[in-house]
Every structure is written in C-alpha cells, then in structure tokens.
C-alpha cells in the first residue's frame, strides 16, 4: 500500500500543501461572499416589475452561466490589462469565480422566491406591509427553505472550482499540486493528497448545509 500512495510526499511538501490550502480558503471565502451579494441583486432584478432590470438580470444570467469559467477567468486576468486594468491572480480569479457562481446563485434564489404563492404576497401587501417588509417577513423566510439545498451545492462547487486559480498562477492548492508534481513526478499521490485538502473544506461545508436544512425543516 505504502508503495502506491507515497506518504513521504505529504510529509516533505506539507508546507506547500498548507500554503495552497490557505490561499484556496481565502479565495473561496472571497468568491463566496461576492457571489452571494451579486446573486441576491441579480435575483431581485430577475423578478423586478421594471422591464429593463428584468432584461439585464436575464442577460447577465444567460451570458455568465453559459460561458466556461476558464474563459471568464482568462478575460479578467489577461483581457482587462488591454483596457488598463491589471488585476493580480487573486483578484482576477476571485472576480471571475464570484461572478460565474453568482449567475447560478441568482437562479436558485429566483426559483425559491417564485415558489412562494402569489397569494401570500397579496395578503401581506393588502394588510399594508411594504414590498420590502413583505419580502423580509413573508417571502424570504419561506424561500430560504427551497433555496438552501441548491445554494449549498453551488457553494461546494465554488470551492472545487477555485482550482481554476491554478492556471493563472494563483498559488492555490491546484497550483501547488502542479508544482509538486513537476518536482516529484508522483502524479497519483500528489493529486490524491490534494483531494484530501479539498475534502477538508467541502465536507464541513456540506455538513453545515445539511444541518441548516434539518433545522429549517423542523420550523413548521
């Protein structure tokens, strides 16, 4: 067994793995926050009564989610300098990943909001609640139950997709694994160990989402 999975790689290169781990963590947190904020805004645009906002929201979602993430990140990294904006790999990767994921999050949130019966909104509005109060007290608490599972999936995907940093010299787990591999040529061991570091991020995230789901299911 030890012959197949060379544990010495993990020991010799643990500093490199951890360095990549923390950059992946930082990048994921940055992109996650960005994607959530953008996702909520775009979702609100998508269900707005203002036609131009709705149009913008739809265009945003359809363009962003139908482009490969790699291209989006390349554009931010290599394309923006031509208009005078030179982002480092963290910003370019974070923006690319955050914007990419926000399109999926916007769709999940929109679907959740639209799953709340229109009658509940009418009841709330006819009792004098404003649009924002209706959203806050009536629609969103119901929508969150529907939104949470797909949202959790998107966040887990985001962590895994952060491996895109590897192609723009982002210093993340994937990048470090490539470097370790080029020095050791132990392809299988190097990448299986890096998978363990990804699990260290995604499994707790997964369990946390499951926990929230169960808590909400109990609510009513």
């Amino acid at each position: 067994m030890s012959d197949l999975l060379d544990i010495s790689i993990l020991i010799d290169y643990q500093d490199v793995y951890w360095k990549g781990f923390f950059i992946t963590l930082k990048a994921s947190v940055f992109a996650l926050i960005l994607s959530f904020i953008l996702g909520v805004i775009i979702a609100v645009f998508r269900i707005s009564t203002v036609k131009s906002l709705r149009w913008f929201g739809t265009a945003y979602v359809e363009y962003i989610r139908n482009i490969p993430l790699l291209i989006l990140v390349f554009v931010f990294y290599n394309g923006l300098p031509s208009i005078g904006v030179n982002l480092d790999s963290f910003m370019a990767g974070g923006l690319g990943l955050g914007i990419y994921t926000s399109a999926f999050i916007a769709e999940a949130i929109r679907a959740g909001i639209q799953s709340v019966p229109k009658g509940h909104v009418e009841a709330a509005r006819s009792s004098g609640l404003t649009y924002l109060q209706t959203m806050r007290f009536v629609v969103l608490p119901q929508a969150i139950k529907i939104v949470l599972p797909p949202l959790g999936n998107q966040f887990i995907n985001l962590v895994k997709n952060s491996s895109i940093f590897g192609v723009i010299a982002g210093g993340d787990l994937m990048y470090q694994a490539d470097i370790i591999n080029s020095e050791t040529f132990q392809t299988v061991s190097v990448y299986l160990f890096v998978a363990l570091f990804y699990l260290l991020l995604t499994i707790p995230l997964s369990l946390f989402v499951n926990y929230l789901e169960r808590r909400l299911a109990r609510a009513y």
Partner: protein, 241 residues
Amino acid sequence: MIRFHHVNKHYGQFHVLKDINLEIQSGEVVVIIGPSGSGKSTLLRCINRLETITDGELTVDGVSVGDRKTNINELRRDIGMVFQHFNLYPHMSVLKNITLAPIRVSKASPKEASETAMYYLQKVGIPDKADAYPSQLSGGQQQRVAIARGLAMKPKIMLFDEPTSALDPEMVGEVLDVMKSLAKEGMTMVVVTHEMGFAREVADRVIFMDHGQIVEEGDPATFFTQPKEERARQFLSRLNH
C-alpha cells in the same frame, strides 16, 4: 365610503370592467354575484389596488386609489381582505399571522398586538389555536384566522373574495356565521360569493355582474324574487336547478 365613477379596466385587449358606477355607504353590506369571469373579483381587488384601473375614478373614504401620490400602504391599513385560499403565512403561528401587520404597519407593541389578536380569535371562536401553525388547522379554521387577521388592523372596510369557495361544505357555515355577526356590528363589507342564502339574509344590497358590467342592483328581497333583467333571471334559475 367607496365610489366607482365610470371605471374601466383592460387586460391588454380584454375589457374586464366596463363603465362601473357604484357607491357603497359606510356600514353597508354589499354582496356581488354573477357567473365566473364576470369581473366581480377584479372589481373587488381594485378597491385596495391589488388591480389597477385603466381609467375613471375610484375613491375610498375620499382618497383616490389610483393616484400615484396616494400612500397605498396607508390606505390598505383601513381595508381588510379575506381571500378564497386563506393565504395564511405557513411559517408563522396563528398568533404571528395576526400580529405581523399591527406590529410592522401600525407600530403596535407586541403585547398590545397579541391582546388584540386574542380578542379577535375569541370572536371567531378559536382562541385555543393561537400557537398552532396553519397546516394544523382545518380549512374553516384557517379562514376564520384569516378574518381575525383582517380585523386585527381595525379596518373601516372588509373585502371578502369568495371566502367559502375553497371550503368543504360542512365548514361553510362556521365562516358565514362569523361574517354575519360582523355585519350585525355595522362593519362595511363588500362580499363576492356564490352563497345566495348569505346574500338574501345579510346583504343590504345585491349587485349582479355579467361580462364586466353591473347588470342589476337592488335589495335582496326584490332581486331574488323579481329580477328585472333577463340575464339575472337566467343566472338565478340556473342556480336553483
């Protein structure tokens, strides 16, 4: 109290309300009847601007409903509404359903709002259900909670949009009883319903609508025994078979 003056409404090409002229006095109970698709629910929903009118003038308590300058949320505080499908908030207890608007809109204290809520739950006969969730209640009980929720804002007008249509027959009575006692207390009520017994017994005035028009109106005794218009006669004879 409520005044429609040459009100029209179009949905695209479709002329839903045609030249509606109607005045409803304070304390009056008006029942609107007519075949489905005749525009009676739309007319009701215009009163608190769940639907907008295309032209004409509609005022409630002297305030123009359609005017952009009108604070619609303020106006809606004075108009309670009860829906066919109850529309209780499923994630809130009965008490929370009733106190949400008083606390958030009228800025009542939670304690004050709870007391008011309990008073109206008492009135609709289910004070023991205050902590239950809507899914734990029967349809009749849910609709009574919805009425209590409307009343808790202490409105000047109550609108009822087919409040018994979604109920099992054995539960219709308990909801109508609550509405009857409300009428006796002098509440201004506009009711869209298919319950002719209720109309005959409680209404001060019956409005018959067809194809977006008010075809006939009058006191229930006259309307149900001697309808003037052919369409009203046909509608009533179909109901009796």
